[in-house]
């Protein structure tokens, strides 16, 4: 999609949104915005995709195959945050109906998913008595958490908890960079991206190989993805050493970051428009003659600007021209353009979340209490089209339920709401392929075991 097309699409969406709202009011089916237990009860009663979550969390162990581990789901930790911030950890469920009944009964404001432990986490105290730490995490998806608040120093449109369509693309870029590397570099296939409900995204890597990574290996992957942005007290921000970029960073730069920075971010965030903003960039160039040259030009042409071209683009071209000209023998200076782009666009992961097996992460399809929006999956192949401001809200879904008015079973009710598409995507693009690969993995490890047994019998 070109920039203009995106722009148009944005406009269209806005118009759609307005019209839809206007219609709703007329129809008197309107449900007041907000988030409360009553809304949530209906959501958990009619819309929450228990079956899909159960199938996912079982990883094929709910079948009849002799290699199935029937205790698997029951060793997984779920945590509930109830109304009034009561936090209940170490819940476990051994069947789909147990999970469903408990959620319906307790109506949690938030559901977190933890690791699979060596023993049922609900009975951990009983095992504690036996000494030796038998209660220990044994499997956990490799997870990533990216939060817009970590980008506050590079976005000028919003700060803190707010997001808009000008800064959201930073998340889209993060999804593209990380998703490609998870697949091409690390060879993972079963990856789920989820909108965190307000200002960020979560990623679940679910391949068997990923679930069995040690903490050290998780930390290594997280570090592979980390580009040092410098602490608050260090001078230089991003430092890309060496004579070339590592293939992963090089690919991220040429395929995603560079064009995003130059074609979108530069103008949408007006990165070079004011003195305060361009000084921040000049700070990243370690050569005073160049910075004073640029500063001089930019302070002057503030008056003589022709307004035809975007001033941010013009200034960026000037900066690039000076830094990349053949006169610059200093390799450090030529790297500077890339360093600036990385600083403004490269994904900023919350490292701690990824490094340890026992970190909890909010389950998909939870509803964010502040925004009322559902944590829906994001298709990494079409992440450009994802719009956080049009994600279904709880009140919108209830309205749609009211309007549909059909008293049929849950399945069709879900399909009549705008959540239906998200659940269908979750099922067909994530859960089903995942279960297929789980089955294959189970078969092959089972056959290998049989073979081993046979060999040991016939020596």
């Amino acid at each position: 999609m070109t920039r203009e097309e995106v722009e148009h699409a944005k406009d269209d969406m806005l118009i759609d949104g307005c019209e839809a709202q206007a219609l709703d009011l007329k129809q008197a089916n309107a449900v007041p915005d907000g988030f409360n237990v009553n809304y949530l009860k209906i959501y958990y009663g009619k819309l929450f995709p228990y079956y899909e979550i159960f199938k996912w969390m079982s990883y094929g162990n709910d079948g009849k195959h002799p290699a199935c581990d029937q205790s698997y789901l029951g060793r997984r930790e779920f945590s509930f945050t109830l109304e009034n911030d009561i936090y209940v950890r170490f819940q476990s469920f051994s069947s789909a109906s147990e999970l469903e009944n408990s959620i319906k009964e307790k109506c949690p404001f938030k559901i977190d998913i933890g690791p699979v432990y060596s023993v049922d986490p609900a009975k951990r105290h009983a095992y504690e008595q036996t000494g030796n730490n038998v209660f220990t995490p044994v499997e956990r998806e490799l997870i990533f958490d990216i939060d817009m608040t970590d980008y506050d120093d590079v976005r000028y449109c919003c700060s803190g908890a707010d997001v808009c369509l000008d800064c959201w693309p930073l998340m889209t870029v993060a999804i593209k960079v990380i998703d490609t590397a998870l697949r091409d570099d690390f060879g993972f296939n079963n990856i789920l991206w989820v909108f965190s409900g307000r200002r960020g995204v979560h990623c679940w890597v679910c391949d068997g190989k990923a679930r069995r990574l040690t903490n050290e290996q998780r930390a290594a992957i997280a570090e592979y993805f980390r580009v040092d942005m410098g602490g608050e007290n260090s001078q230089k921000k991003v430092v890309l050493g060496g004579h070339a970029l590592h293939p992963f960073l090089g690919r991220s730069y040429t395929e995603v970051l560079k064009s995003f920075f130059e074609e979108r971010l530069l103008s949408s965030q007006k990165i070079l428009s004011t003195e305060e903003r361009f000084e921040k960039i000049l700070d990243m160039i370690p050569d005073e003659s160049i910075t004073s040259d640029l500063r001089g030009r930019w302070q002057e042409n503030r008056r003589s600007s022709t307004n035809k071209e975007d001033i941010n683009v013009v200034r960026w071209e000037q900066l690039k021209h000076i830094l990349q000209s053949s006169k610059q023998k200093d390799k450090g200076l030529r790297r500077c353009v890339e360093e600036i782009v990385f600083y403004y666009t490269y994904p900023r992961l919350d490292m701690e979340v990824s490094k340890h097996m026992n970190h909890l992460l909010k389950a998909p399809f939870c509803v964010h209490p502040k925004t009322g929006r559902v944590c829906v999956p994001i298709d990494p192949n079409c992440c450009d089209e994802f719009d956080p401001t049009t994600v279904p809200t709880l009140s919108q879904l209830l309205e749609e339920l009211n309007r549909s008015g059909v008293g049929g079973d849950g399945e069709t009710e879900l399909d009549q709401t705008s959540l239906g598409e998200s659940v269908r995507f979750f099922r067909s693009a994530f859960v089903q392929p995942l279960l297929k690969s789980c089955k294959e993995e189970m078969e092959s490890s089972y056959n290998a075991k049989l073979q081993q047994k046979k060999n040991s019998i016939t020596w």
Partner: protein, 451 residues
């Protein structure tokens, strides 16, 4: 017979490495004095390594340090006994350091580092021989495959600032899980889950193997120790083993010392006079911004705990600041848990210990972070400003900056301590809580006499 024939066929002389892998307990007779003496010698090596690591020495410097330490302490008058001394001392220290999680962690880290640099110093042939001893299922990359990824391998070499010729060496293809440190440093090309490692990177592969083997072995040793050895040897080895670990562990900073016990009302005073710069900076930032990110909360929080701040006071302290920024409700909801957690009152109920200098120095503060070691992580300008605010004179400042330039961060901190307190600190600074304790030792008696 097989072995002899294959030896004859081989055109190269068989190279045997002198580094043992410590796979099984040796069948050796050891005199009781040697049992202890050998262990003490090896401990000196491991402690030297620990010092080197905390100064963030470069690999080349570490290699030299390890080689010097080894020569200084691990020699034996009888050439034939050198390898036995190596093996015996290792197994004695296994007994000493198997007994708690913290001891195991330290020993594992130091022995792995020792192994790494000894391996690096070996000849290419000896390295290959050692690699073969590990019996790993990985083969060298074929020429056809090598050609298909050559460009990428070149790119990795360039990104590391290595000469292009280094790409012509032998490569191995291994699952990325086997070489976490190479993955973490982006020092290998990774494709579809496989890392291409150059011969000179094989050290990472073998160290990972060495580590994981030793880690499992330490757990087993611990089990044997608690179930049988301790009782059986209670008149002979047990006293030696127990004495060895206590005399060489350095100060225990998990428990507040006699001078500690600070209360909320004089915390500002105390922070100003007795906190090391890394903690004082966090403390000031917290007062200023009413917020600290995770890394800063952990570093300062555990330090304050070590200094003797009680859980209730800690909660009140953090709440007072955070409430200004996020409101008391959000504090209770999002932050109080982790504070109780670090006091061992939630979750796994592990009582976390304050960070040592080594841990602080090796942290990697990012955007918005204020933790880490100022001597390592601050720009020169910021560091100078902070030091003069602490009252370090210009002359002392130059000495501090000199140490910083040579990456002797702990020595820089020691000099700062001496400049501020006007008194020498012979033991050097190894732990922020030790800095605090030393400072109170100097300041408190004066206060008392004045009162």
């Amino acid at each position: 017979m097989e072995i002899v024939r294959s030896q004859r066929k081989s055109p190269l002389p068989i190279v045997v490495s002198t580094i043992p892998l410590y796979r099984s307990t040796p069948e050796l007779e050891v005199r009781l004095e040697d049992f202890e003496l050998f262990a003490v010698d090896r401990l000196r090596v491991l402690q030297g390594i620990s010092h080197g690591l905390s100064r963030a020495k470069k690999p080349e410097e570490m290699e030299k340090l390890v080689s010097d330490l080894w020569k200084a302490h691990m020699r034996h008058p009888l050439a034939s006994e050198v390898i036995n001394k190596d093996i015996i001392s290792h197994f004695v220290l296994r007994l000493v350091y198997c007994r708690t999680e913290d001891l195991r962690k330290w020993f594992l880290a130091m022995e792995s580092t020792l192994f790494r640099y000894r391996f690096r110093s070996e000849s290419f042939e000896a390295q290959r021989a050692l690699l073969a001893e590990f019996d790993l299922p990985y083969k060298a990359v074929s020429i056809a495959e090598f050609e298909s990824v050559k460009e990428k391998l070149l790119q990795v070499a360039r990104s590391l600032g290595q000469p292009q010729t280094s790409v012509d060496v032998l490569f191995y293809k291994v699952p990325f899980e086997e070489v976490p440190e190479l993955v973490a440093g982006r020092r290998v090309y990774i494709q579809k889950g496989h890392a291409y490692i150059a011969m000179n990177q094989v050290v990472s592969l073998v160290v990972t193997q060495f580590r994981s083997h030793l880690s499992k072995a330490l757990i087993l040793t611990n089990r044997k120790w608690t179930s049988t050895i301790r009782e059986q040897e209670k008149d002979r080895l047990t006293p030696i083993v127990e004495a060895l670990s206590t005399s060489y562990l350095g100060p225990d900073c998990s428990q507040p010392k006699e001078y500690a016990e600070i209360s909320l009302k004089d915390i500002d005073q105390v922070a100003k006079r007795s906190f090391p710069l890394c903690m004082h900076h966090l403390f000031e930032k917290l007062r200023e911004d009413h917020h600290l990110k995770y890394g800063g909360r952990m570093q300062l929080g555990l330090f304050l705990k070590g200094v003797g701040l009680k859980l209730d006071d800690a909660l009140a302290f953090w709440k007072a600041e955070f409430s200004i920024k996020v409101g008391p409700e959000r504090f209770d909801k999002e932050y109080a848990y982790s504070i109780r957690h670090s006091f061992g009152k939630e979750g796994k109920r592990v009582d976390y210990t304050p960070y040592s200098c080594q841990k602080v120095i090796s942290s990697t503060p990012g955007v918005g972070d204020h933790h880490g070691c100022p001597y390592r992580h601050f720009s020169e300008e910021n560091l100078r400003a902070s030091l003069s605010k602490m009252g370090v004179s210009n002359r002392a400042m130059e000495d501090v900056m000199e140490k910083v330039r040579n990456k002797h961060y702990q020595l820089a901190c020691t000099l700062t301590f001496e400049a501020i307190h006007g008194s020498s600190c012979d033991s050097g600074i190894n732990h922020p809580n030790q800095y605090f304790a030393e400072s109170r030792k100097i300041l408190l008696p004066k206060n008392n006499s004045a009162a």
